[in-house]
Each structure stands twice: as C-alpha cells, then as structure tokens.
C-alpha cells in the first residue's frame, strides 16, 4: 500500500509514492536523490540527517515520509544553489569542518539559529548546534564561525 505525497523540496514541487513505513531520510536520499542529509545513527542522536522542514530543523531519521506531505523541505543542496550564504562563507573561512560528515546538518542548524537570532552569543550558538555531533573538530571552529557571522551582521545593523 503506497500513498502519494507532495513536498516542496528546495523550492521545487515533487510528488511521489511512499510506503507508510518509509522514513523521510531514506526517501530523500534514495528516491529523491538528495544526498546531503547523512545516515549517522538512525535514532535521532547525531543530527547528521538534519533538514529544515518549514524552516525548522528536524531529524529526518525520526520522521516518516508521509508526515512531510504538503510541507516544505530545505536541504543543504537547496541552500547552496544561489552561492554561499554568509554562514557557509564564514564556516569556509574558519576551516570549520574536518571530515565534513556533520557539515550538512550543522550548516542547517546554524542557519535556523541565525534566522531567528542574527547576532547570537557564543552560548546561544553552542546550544543551537548541540544536537549535531561532531567527532573531529572539538566544535570550536564551528562555534567561532557562527558567532563571527552574527558579529558581522551586528556591525552592519
């Protein structure tokens, strides 16, 4: 038994048939061919599968595909299409990532934070990305990069 769902994926309307038990992460990666959300733990611990659902970060390993019906999904691919966003530029400049596997989720969590709070403090950044595990960097260069975006924005404002 399948169900037809329609999602807006990175600003494009996509319709597809899914099984009721299909997990959104698998559908994004295997059916829709969007590979930036990664499989890290399949139980909501690591945040590697993070995407924006209607602008809010969710772990796609914990969501069924049918729950996304009618919603808007943004992955890192969607964010990157029209050039680097300020937070991507800052992460690049700060050498923020090492292996890069956590990067897609981390960028989206930082993007959500900066959307709500354009000039976050260090503690606010730490809290915002605390659901995204990174084993390489000790988090410091990621935190510094996100804080720097806020400082730049603060100067412009």
């Amino acid at each position: 038994m399948t169900k037809r769902i329609t999602v807006t994926l990175n600003n494009e309307l996509r319709s597809l048939d899914v099984e009721p038990s299909d997990v959104l992460l698998d559908i994004l990666r295997e059916t829709l061919g969007v590979k930036s959300p990664k499989i890290g733990c399949e139980r909501g611990d690591c945040g590697a599968c993070t995407v924006l659902l209607d602008g809010k970060t969710v772990r796609t390993c914990l969501i069924l595909a049918i729950e996304a019906d009618g919603h808007e999904i943004t992955t890192l691919e969607g964010l990157s299409r029209s050039g680097l966003t300020p937070v991507q530029q800052s992460l690049l400049k700060h050498n923020s990532f090492q292996c890069g596997f956590c990067a897609p989720g981390m960028v989206l969590s930082a993007t959500e934070l900066l959307g709500k709070n354009p000039t976050p403090s260090k503690d606010e950044v730490k809290e915002a990305i605390s659901g995204n595990l990174c084993r390489c960097t000790g988090y410091e260069p990621i935190i510094d990069a996100v804080v720097a975006v806020g400082k730049k924005a603060g100067k412009r404002a």
Partner: protein, 809 residues
C-alpha cells in the same frame, strides 16, 4: 627556511568548499542504480560458542532474496599483521554480534526480514571475559589453532594459550636500577574499552563484474592495504592485486576505526557470490560499536624508582591487554606500547612486558593514539604521584627527566630531535602552573593537572609512500596520492608542499582522492605519518617534475638548467633577467624551437619515500638491536578543572596543549588537530563509559547511552601551542602531530582531580558519578553494578598477575 612562501602558511582547506556546500561525496552517497543489492548480516548472540549447524532454507525462499552466504561458501581467514579473523567463521564465534551468515536481497527491508529466518544452532562455550582467567594454565582457549596462523615476523603468539603476542623490552639492569632508587612507587591503573564514534558508519559497496574484475567503494583510511589484505584473502578464488580496485571517496571520520580491513571483508565476500551485481553493506550505529574495532582495555602495573634528587633510575611496566576475539591489527597496538611504555623520559633501566590477550569481546584494533593514550593514563598519573612522594613539583620532576635528542631509547636506538623541554615550559606558563585558583562558588573547587606525552608511528619497516604529479594545459596540476583525507587536512598540506617546490599557488593544485587503479601507492593513513611520509613523496615528485621542466627548457632554448628557477608560475633564469617562461606555455604542448618543431611534452613525475633506516628485527627477549620506530613526536598539556563537590560534575575551565610538529606546514590545521584532540581525549575520561553485561554483550551501543561530547561540553578555553624542532628527514622539517593531541587528556584530568579534591582515580573513565561517590566515601567499585567496561569483574588492585603468572604458559 624563512624564505618559504607556501609552507608555514594557513590557507583555507582545499576541501572546504565541497564540505560547506554538501558537494563532498561519501561512499553511501554514490548511486549504483536499480541493480544494487543490499545485505543484512546474521549475528551471533553468544560471546563464545561452537556453530553446530546453519539452516538458510527459510531465508532463501523469501521473495527478493538473491543469496544467503555462510562460512561454508567463504571459509577464508584474513588479517593485517596476523591472519586470525574470519570473513564468516565456520566452527566457532568469538564475540557477541559476530557475523555468521549474510542475506543479500533486492532491498534492505527484505534482507533484514530474511536474516531473521536463518536458523543457527550453537553449543555455548564458557566465554573468556576475565584476563586472569584467560591467562590461567587451564584457560578456555579463544583460538585453539593459534600456532598455525600466518603472522608478521615480529609477533610472538604462544600456541596453547590465549597470549596472541608478548612484547618484551629490556634495557640496563632493572634490579640495580631499583637498588639505586631512594623512593619506589608501585600501583595498578586500568583503562576500559572505547569506541571511535566516527559520525559516518562503515560502508562498502562492491561489484564483481562479469569479466571477473572486483571493484570496492570503501569508507576507508587504507585503500592500498585493503586491496592487499583482500587480495590475500581472495587468492583461493583466483584473484590477485591487478583484479582488485579500491576506490575511497571522502571519509566521514576515521580515528583508526577505518584503518585496515574489518567489516569490509563481508562486502568483498558477498559480491564474489553474486557476480555482476553490486552489493552494499552499511553498518548500523550499533554494529559500528561492536563489529569493527574497539580500543582495547588494559590493566597496567607500574613500578617506578627515583633518587631523592628526582632522577628516575628504573621503570617496570607490565601491561595486560584485553584484545578481544581477533587481534589481527590490535596486537600491533600492544607491540607499539611494549616498545615505548617508558614515556618521554630518559630512564636507564627498563623492563616492559606488553601482553596481548585474547578474550571473547569485540575485536580490538587501531584507535587514535594506538595504545599510547591507554598507557599514558597510568604513567603520567604515576609521574605526578612520584613527584609528590619526592616532595618535588610535578612539572619540575618531568623537566628533570624529559627525554632529549640522542638519548638511548628503551630498544637501544637514539632519540630524534625534540622540543619536550620547550613544550613543558610553554604549557606550564600558559596554564599558570603553581598559581592556585579559587572558585567564587563555595561548593566548587579548582585544580590543575599536567601531563607529558609522546608517540611514534607504528609501521612495518617498509611502509612506503608514493606520489604522481601531472600538469594541465593551464599550468594547474594534479597530485595522485593515496593518503586519505580523513579530516586532518592532508590534501591541503600535500598541495602546500608541492606549491613550495613548484611555485604554483595552491588554488591551482588538485589533490585526488585515492583509487588504487590510478593513484600512487600509500601504505595506510595511520600513525600520523602521512604529512611526513607522503609529504616526502610529494616533495620528491615535485622535484622530479621541476628537473624535467628545466631539462626541456635547456634542450629547447639552450639555457643551462642549473641557472633556472621557478617563481610566480614561471621558469626564470638567474643569469638572464629578461627570461621568463610561463608554465602554462609549455607543460603540455612543449616548447617550439626556431625550426618550428616542439621539444618536451606533458610534464609529469613521481616521487617515493621509504624509511630505509628502520628495522623490526630485534632480540625477542629484549627488543634490542632493531630500529622499529621512525621517530617520536613529543609534547605536554595541562588543564584547569572545576569540580562541584556535591555532584562531582566537572567543568574544564581551560586546556592547553603543546605539540612539537617539527615544522607546521599549515599551523591552523595543526591547531585544529590540537583542539579536536583535546576534546576527544577529554571525552574518554569525562563522558564515555562503555558497558558489557556478564555474558559479554555490549549494552550501550548508541549515542544515548554512550555519550560523546556535544558543543555544550567543550572546555571554556583551549589554547593550542605549536613547537617546532625540525625533524631532519621530514618535508621542510615536519613530523606528525595528530593522534598525539588526545594522549595526555586522561592523566591530566586525573592529576587535576587529585589537586582539587585529593582523590587519586586509578580507573578510567573519571565521571561525575564516580567523583561524587568517592567524595562521599563510597567506593565506586562497590556500587557500580555488574555491567563493566573491563575484562575483569573484581577490583583493579586485586590484579597482582603480570609477567610471572603469565610466564608459566
């Protein structure tokens, strides 16, 4: 050296853009189309059992199942240093979760469903879960056939026992050394197992095509070593190296866990059974914990003697390792420690016994630090305690005994140039050593802890690196190497080294990810040796290419090659200021002469590096006579730790670490290793707490119950310090500085805990729970329950075995 233009700078990572845009492709991201098959492994629930029968008939009948594979189909053993591991075991299982069969199906759900229908009948055996029992004369044997296994010549397994390897190092006269000592301190330290926790789980896709070619796309630190180990394992099926290709795209974290071959053997075995169809094997997070490698546990007994003035006279260090069911790689961890467990100190009389013991727990293997983190916990705790016993400052005691260039190492070779004194001094200054800090909160106390460290790469003496280099029409160039970008910044550093010789900006240099069909050889990306080893190969390749360019210019234009030099992507001449030839004008199409013909052609070159001065041949009873390690990297670290006396909760106010990188090719990347390593090291002492039940089953194989740090858990301040005492045989003086940065963490925290609250913790980890209980006078050992992270059930101090009982064999 001051004239360096690219080396010593900190450009952005050349893989940075791919990673911030999501363009970076990992194995699981590669599409293989509708014909891709998926595999599910059938795992044993027993730590030790005989396999009596396997019935696959019900699974085979499930629609969508293509093939069910067992040890009958694929009964081959494999291993990097000792061939003791099975693709699928045929007679017995040796740890909970070991694969006994696998189902290959059209889709993952079908494979999973069918795997549950495979019926395996076992005869359960007594599991070996306690090191003392493992070493008894009447011990149950994990590998009854140990004596028949193929192994490297520097391993000494003892047939008829559970001892897979025993590294003995003897220097000087140990009895005389202790007689000369005014103070002797002896104690036992224990370190449990740990999991690497790379965020990307292991995954392999393989295709054995209809022509008989095997290609593997692997999340690996070791493409060439995988090809070699698999070629050995697959030899009975008629495959050789030329028939096997290993492709390794970006890897989502390694930390040693993706070195060598672990679950990849299953992928290779399955594809051989379904010719013409690709198969994917992707590990779950739980499998990642129990069926790749774990860091082995250890019980370490240290006896240290020193004179009143602080001179160390002797060390006896006995380490018994819980190495798990298979030690094909892990036994070399034990070996490395057996050569180096003096720590970075000049000690005239040394006796080290490092004993690799089989148990029925998950296989052990390489983990960032390669055994050094484990033995430094005891040794660097002991150093501080000895200083206190002598009435000396712990930093002064270390300064007095710190190793220097030219000192005789435990195995007889000489110590390389090193900046240990400078590291100690700079760390002590940065942490404000000797200045007591007081918390404003009366419930909290602050302590400081200090530790030194050292580590050498553990490599076979013929572990080589090689590089290809070729130019493109626009004067850009590609470097074909097979070191692995596991996040450390390897590709950027290789580009900087080539840039320095060729005077081409790094924006014009592509460093290619490995493909064994195409890129030059690299043994493995382990041991923090690729900056040094592969860096030397890339430098040699760049010099080769430069010489070829000058030769072409001389032949075509008649300008003597020894007057030529490179600058700003051009060939220039010392004696003719008006001459300059852009590289892009000739590196592919050659140089046109006055006759109209062209001289030259595509410029390409190669370089090789082999540490020809090393040797693993030595006396097995003393380890004297060889030169097993290429060099040591040294450093020091310190921490300021705040402890809540009621809850035991610890907060790292400041951590600082100095490492002697020889020459930091890219200082910002070295700092990245220091900060990342500090946090990974602190995780092993403050948070990560592995637990097995009494039948050997891992009970916390997930990130909910096995905690690694989040962004909320990092130190308030981290100060990386780079020391640069050049390594004479390193590229521009560089040596490795990556693994090292997590080694001192556990001991510096233990020392800070004692400084703050007077508790000496001798068992890792040092969690808030443990500290809180001990502060209330409740011994943690009495209340911890039956789940244990160690290969023993009792109190660590109760373990008085070491070499004597084990020597009985």
């Amino acid at each position: 050296m001051s004239s360096l233009k690219f080396v010593g700078q900190s450009p952005e990572r050349i893989d940075g853009l791919e990673k911030v845009t999501g363009a970076a492709t990992y194995v699981d991201d590669i599409d293989f189309g509708a014909r891709l098959l998926h595999a599910e492994v059938v795992e044993t629930p027993y730590a030790h059992a005989l396999i009596k029968s396997i019935d696959t008939s019900a699974a085979e009948k499930v629609p969508g199942v293509v093939r069910v594979v067992t040890g009958k189909d694929f009964p081959y053993r494999f291993g990097l240093y000792m061939q003791d591991r099975f693709s699928f075991p045929t007679d017995r299982v040796r740890f909970v979760g070991e694969q006994v069969a696998a189902v290959v199906a059209r889709d993952a759900k079908t494979a999973k469903r069918a795997a549950k229908l495979v019926k395996v009948v076992y005869q359960e055996l007594e599991p070996v879960l306690d090191l003392t029992k493992a070493l008894r004369d009447d011990a149950v044997l994990v590998h009854p056939d140990l004596g028949n296994y193929t192994r490297c010549p520097w391993f000494f397994p003892q047939a008829g026992t559970n001892i897979a390897h025993w590294r003995k190092t003897r220097k000087g006269d140990i009895e005389k050394g202790f007689k000369e000592a005014d103070v002797i301190l002896e104690d036992t330290y224990t370190v449990p197992r740990y999991s690497h926790c790379a965020i990307e789980p292991h995954v392999i896709v393989g295709l054995y095509d209809l022509s008989g070619r095997l290609t593997l796309w692997s999340a690996s630190q070791s493409p060439y070593t995988q090809r070699h180990v698999l070629a050995q394992a697959l030899a009975p099926l008629g495959l050789s190296h030329k028939d096997i290709r290993v492709v390794t795209p970006y890897v989502g974290g390694g930390f040693g866990g993706k070195a060598g071959v672990s679950m990849e053997i299953i992928g290779a075995a399955l594809v051989m059974m379904v010719k013409g169809q690709p198969v994917k094997v992707r590990w779950s997070r739980a499998q990642e914990f129990y069926n790749t490698y774990q860091r082995q546990g250890v019980i370490a007994r240290i006896k240290l003697g020193a004179k009143k003035d602080g001179t160390i006279t002797a060390i006896e260090h006995s380490l018994h390792w819980d190495a798990g069911g298979y030690v094909e790689y892990g036994a070399n961890v034990v070996n490395a420690v057996g050569l180096s467990a003096t720590g970075p100190y000049r000690i005239p009389n040394v006796k080290i016994d490092s004993v690799c013991v089989y148990t029925n727990l998950p296989p052990s293997g390489p983990y960032r630090g390669f055994g050094y983190s484990e033995f430094h916990f005891g040794l660097e705790s002991h150093m501080t305690r000895m200083a206190h016993k002598l009435g000396m400052d712990p930093v002064d005691f270390r300064r007095k005994n710190a190793i220097r260039e030219g000192d005789t190492l435990a195995y007889g070779a000489k110590m390389n140039p090193c900046g240990l004194q400078e590291s100690i001094d700079r760390v002590a200054a940065e942490i404000g050593w000797g200045k007591k800090e007081v918390s404003k909160d009366p419930n909290k106390v602050i302590g400081k802890g200090f530790a030194c460290f050292w580590k050498a790469p553990a490599m076979p003496p013929n572990a080589a690196s090689a590089a290809f280099l070729k130019f493109n029409e626009d004067g850009s160039l590609n470097i074909g190497v097979s070191g692995m970008e596991i996040g450390q910044g390897y590709m950027t550093v290789m580009a900087q080294i080539a840039a320095e010789i060729l005077m081409v900006p790094i924006e014009k240099i592509r460093v290619e990810l490995p493909d064994t069909d195409r890129n030059a050889y690299e043994w493995q990306t382990v041991g923090s040796h690729v900056t040094w080893g592969c860096g030397n190969a890339v430098k040699a390749a760049a010099l080769d290419v430069r010489a070829k360019m000058f030769e072409v210019v001389e032949r075509a234009l008649g300008i003597a090659r020894d007057t030529l030099y490179l600058e700003d992507e051009k060939v220039k001449c010392r004696t003719r200021a008006d001459f300059e030839l852009p590289l892009r004008d000739f590196v592919i199409n050659g140089i046109q002469t006055s006759h109209g013909n062209f001289i030259g052609g595509p410029i390409l070159g190669s370089g090789v590096f082999m540490p020809e001065f090393t040797s693993a041949l030595s006396d097995p009873e003393t380890s004297q006579g060889g030169h097993p390690n290429v060099h040591y990297t040294v450093g020091a670290a310190a921490v300021t730790l705040e402890i809540d006396k009621q809850t035991g909760k610890m907060r790292v106010l400041k951590a600082t670490l100095a490492v002697d990188a020889g020459k930091a090719i890219n200082p910002r990347l070295v700092n990245g290793q220091i900060v990342g390593g500090i946090v990974q090291g602190l995780a092993t002492v403050l948070y990560e707490d592995i637990r097995f039940d009494l039948r050997g089953k891992l009970v916390n194989a997930n990130f909910t119950d096995y905690k690694i740090p989040t962004s909320m858990d990092v130190p308030l301040e981290m100060v990386p310090i780079i020391v640069e005492v050049a390594q004479p045989d390193g590229p521009f003086g560089a040596r490795g500085a990556a693994e090292h940065t997590m080694i001192p963490a556990a001991a510096m925290v233990a020392n800070a805990v004692e400084d703050a609250v007077g508790l000496r913790m001798k068992t890792m980890p040092i969690t808030a729970e443990k500290v809180a209980l001990e502060l209330q006078g409740i011994p943690y050992e009495d209340v911890k329950g039956s789940y244990t992270g160690f290969c023993f059930a009792g109190h660590p101090d109760a373990y008085k075995f070491h070499t004597k009982s084990a020597a009985k064999k």
